[in-house]
Symmetry: C2
Subunit: 307 residues, 2 copies
């Protein structure tokens, strides 16, 4: 069977990952390249809301990428990629995270920018390619951008994100604050989940030196819904850490309105995390004022602390 | 001492590396960023010709990058970077090679494109930033582009390289073929070197699995000048392979006019190289018809063969 070309985001897909896969596959198709959007896991409720709102079918699930050709969007490390990615050919990368462990034999297009979302970069790629963005695609890209930047409130937000969001909102015909509020409400439907679903719903795995470290995040306007179930949540984190042999499992419960997080922790090297985040855990819990971004405020200091 | 921001290319700098460092530092300065061009080794005679022709000072030598901030141009692997790079902060990458082993803690700008030169990408970056390119900078960028693509004859050359070369030649006020011929003549001044200088003048080191592999290239219009000294050249290669513990040292003697290479080899795993390049070495020598590009035609199959 000849290999196909898939545009695919990270495991535990979020809205930016799914919408970026859809939008970039469309751009490739407009350029005459036979690329199909794919996903590496279940669509979360926020993303399902976005797909319904913009009348778009979900990308199909790719459960084994071995032997395939992949365009990676919204991630660039193997630990976050679809299974089989090590035995796939990576032909392109478009992302906005730290530079990870992808290596290739051939020169490829690799575009990473320190902006708030992959959707922001894809909007530029449409412009550079001189291709128009239709209202539906603009709605998807805007959703990815607003979801990742918490409606332009996250410290990862750049001026570029702000001006591109305005442009996309114009094309899509929506009001950023009004549509953004609808999105945030979807993010907050966390209370309907089991503790295990809760801690794994937005979850990323990192390798810091020889340590496997899991970092989950619950972004919500009602953090108390999670924190009231503290013991059950910590038990679920302990289970996951043991099953997967994590040195540390850190969960950020982020209050989207107060722009602060409460961290819960399981695992063994808690003092290393305390050093990295400059905090103290009391009964596996610490308060992190001003912390909203896993990528920008948590991953870099933890990586330094483990090295 | 506070760290400074250096724009720097690979060791054994070639014309694309030096001119890219100069041109990107100028763009950064035009954008209000305090960046200085630097180099990781001696300027070769072709590059010195270019600097003289465009009345430009050589970037200054950086012999230890530890503690500094680096923008890498024209490479993205530590084995080719200035010494101390492992203890520097990589803040940006602009390149046109395979994706290497650079990892970062923070999201950074990383732009790699499968085009003929880094100068090609930098010309686009000037355009995207809406900054004009003056005649001197255009001359430098054109030199990098024409040097890396062997005056648009290498199989790495893309349509983008061709149209950007036309644009740069217009600004610089030179004729591509005429100026290109002057450049090629500089590349050919290989006969004035000792065998050791010859095999190391355009040289890159790779790590394929656990094997250190050195690949040198002599691009010339007079390959016989090198091949007549076969025994002395092979002895120099043997010395380098032993000193540096290389599994293999491969030297490509590339005939720029006939668009073909003769490969010389030293080291131990010759059969792996034969597999990779689909050839047979007789008395440490093999003929490679159509092979002009180390990056595109030699590195990928060798990496596959060693894996
Ligand atoms: Mn994202
Ligand atoms: Mn180059």
């Amino acid at each position: 069977m000849p290999s196909s070309l898939h545009v695919i985001g990270h495991q535990q897909p979020d809205t930016d990952t799914i919408c970026s896969a859809l939008a970039y596959a469309r751009l490739k198709q407009a350029q005459g390249v036979d690329a199909t959007p794919a996903r590496a896991g279940e669509v979360n409720p926020e993303t399902q809301f976005v797909l319904d709102r913009w009348d778009t079918e979900s990308p199909s699930l790719l459960d084994d990428a071995a032997g395939e050709q992949l365009i990676l969007v919204d991630h660039n490390e193997y630990s976050q990629a679809v299974s089989g990615a090590h035995d796939a050919t990576i032909v392109e990368v478009v992302d906005h995270h730290r530079i990870g462990d992808i290596e290739t034999s051939d020169p490829i297009y690799f575009r990473n920018e320190p902006v708030g979302s992959t959707a922001t970069i894809l909007t530029q790629l449409y412009e550079e390619a001189n291709k128009t963005i239709d209202a539906q695609t603009a709605g998807l890209l805007l959703s990815g951008l607003l979801s990742d930047t918490v409606v332009l409130r996250s410290p990862t937000t750049t001026d570029q994100d702000r001006s591109i969001a305005d442009h996309l909102a114009d094309i899509a015909g929506v009001d950023i604050e009004k549509y953004g509020k609808e999105l945030l409400q979807q993010k907050s439907k966390i209370g309907e989940k089991s503790p295990r679903e809760m801690v794994l719903s937005d979850f990323k795995e990192f390798e810091f030196e020889s340590h496997q470290v899991g970092i989950g995040q619950v972004e919500t306007v009602e953090p108390e819904v999670v924190l009231e179930q503290r013991e059950a949540v910590l038990a679920a984190m302990d289970d996951v850490a043991t099953e997967r042999n994590y040195t540390v499992f850190l969960l950020l419960v982020t209050d989207l309105l107060k722009e602060e997080s409460t961290a819960l922790i399981a695992g063994t090297q808690i003092d290393t995390v305390e050093d990295g985040l400059d905090t103290t855990f009391t009964e596996q819990e610490a308060f992190l004022p001003g912390v909203m971004s896993r990528k920008k405020q948590v991953v870099p200091p933890l990586e330094d602390a483990f090295n």
